[in-house]
Subunit: 300 residues, 2 copies
């Protein structure tokens, strides 16, 4: 039974990847003007692989409310654009200064720094353009709510604030509470939006929204602890990016504070806990449940 | 008569500046968390002066359709956030590498490069959050249309594309047509959105929208030629930023191709032409008419 669900999850992840990449491919056209380099770099940043885990969350949460797949895939693509933009900017020399991402040169290595800055800016902007388009949902209030929620998750009180805090973490000492807050902002907020997006699209009532929020909160933290574990235990071949960077930068992480064993326990506990929020959805949420296991067991 | 209008314009510009800065002040709170530096830099980038010319265009175009001032000021603030973010990123070392803006150190000089990148990202994101908020307009379709139009103007097919082209202009040779396209993207698109925003807020019909688009097109180009002239004729004291940079970078501009005299003629001609589009608005558009003179006569 567990194996069947794991296979179903793999299949769903593959299908989401295929379908969301089709949407991304369509909205990221090749241009042959002098600024073609910008479009090339946007495509490079977005279409070069990735787990597409956030799109999966959008599509699965939307399924709970019988949202059309065309709608949820557009929102999924918008979230992925924001995720990819954040990677491009985080990798910049002035930020984390990374040369490798998904096993390939980062955007500023493949192109140049100015192009990477602009590509990130354009991807972020495109995400909002995509959400605001009437093709995403026929109801303007829903489109505006999606824009507001994504902006809230991505901005200074969300992902960007988390990245700022992450940079500060090289000089200030964070305890577990501080790191939890950092991660809730840096990765948790966008994961939470991904799970809530389905509820917004489906104009869901408060109860299922709260349930998805609870699920996303625990899942996001579990996801991040697993990421910290990969930074310690993973290899560059598995993860496609540099490892051991947090320790080298003297940054406190869940693993540096809790140790590997307790961190793994904590990730598993949170994954288990996340699933409990989904009780109200019965069997419809099985793939979201399985995703919680995927998050802690993944190798990249 | 002309003098009266010039004084009225000055007054309107001052009032818009005061009111839009009040909105910006409110949505850019001071924070005392570890990421306070991010909020400080966002405020520094946004509240440190500026002509507030785009906000003026939003407010004035909205006046033509009896839009509430509270609504138009929020859209005006959103446009200004996008304008300020673009300046922060354009000034970065990897881009135009400027140390001075509005007579003050640029954001990456005052703070640091990573903070400047993140501040720009957060300002851009906040612009969309502001537009999507129900306080901006009661109708979701209007809010979503504003988001879509601003994103279109700011993104790869607008301002960001123009900046990419501007970087390319250091190595490729552009003719007048090429520079016109560059400027239409880099500055024209956001000026056009500013003028159209009032029509969107007021749910205007096609005819006045087209009129405002025509006005904005000519005004934007006139604005840019005046900017090129300032880069040649202005002083660092007047403009608050480095001058003579385009020539030093070997970039073609309207002035380098047309010469000072013909460029000035062209700016004046475009300003005059822009006003003709406003015929359908009678006296309601007098300040927009006066703005066309302001654009070519300004010293910064």
């Amino acid at each position: 039974m567990a194996k069947t669900t794991a296979l179903a999850l793999e299949k769903a992840l593959r299908e989401t990847t295929r379908d969301v990449e089709q949407v991304l491919e369509k909205i990221l056209p090749l241009e042959d003007e002098h600024e073609a380099r910008l479009f090339d770099s946007m495509r490079y940043a977005t279409l070069g692989g990735g787990k597409r885990f956030r799109p999966f969350l959008v599509v699965q949460s939307a399924t709970l409310f019988s949202v059309s797949r065309a709608s949820s895939l557009r929102v999924a693509a918008a979230v992925e654009l924001v995720h990819c933009y954040s990677l491009v900017h985080d990798d910049l020399p002035a930020m984390d200064d990374d040369e490798l991402r998904r096993g390939q040169p980062t955007v500023h290595k493949q192109f140049d720094e100015a192009t990477a800055i602009l590509a990130g800016d354009a991807l972020l902007t495109l995400a909002f353009e995509l959400l605001a388009d009437p093709q995403t949902h026929e109801n303007g209030n829903v489109r505006a709510e999606l824009v507001g929620a994504l902006a809230g998750a991505a901005g200074a009180h969300g992902m960007v604030g988390g990245q700022m805090l992450d940079l500060a973490a090289e000089t200030i000492e964070l305890d577990v509470g501080g790191i939890t807050r950092l991660q809730r902002l840096k990765t948790g907020a966008l994961i939470a939006f991904s799970c809530e997006a389905g509820a917004i699209l489906g104009r869901a009532s408060t109860e299922p929204r709260e349930a998805l929020r609870g699920y996303a909160h625990d899942l996001g933290l579990s996801f991040q602890i697993a990421d910290d574990l990969l930074d310690v235990e993973g290899t560059i071949e598995e993860t496609g990016k540099a490892v051991g960077k947090d320790a080298a930068a003297g940054k406190a992480t869940f693993v540096s504070i809790l140790g590997v064993e307790r961190a793994r326990e904590q990730a598993n506990l949170l994954a288990k806990q996340s699933v409990e929020h989904l009780a109200i959805f019965d069997g419809d949420a099985d793939l979201l449940r399985e995703a919680a296991s995927f998050v802690v067991d993944r190798k990249r």
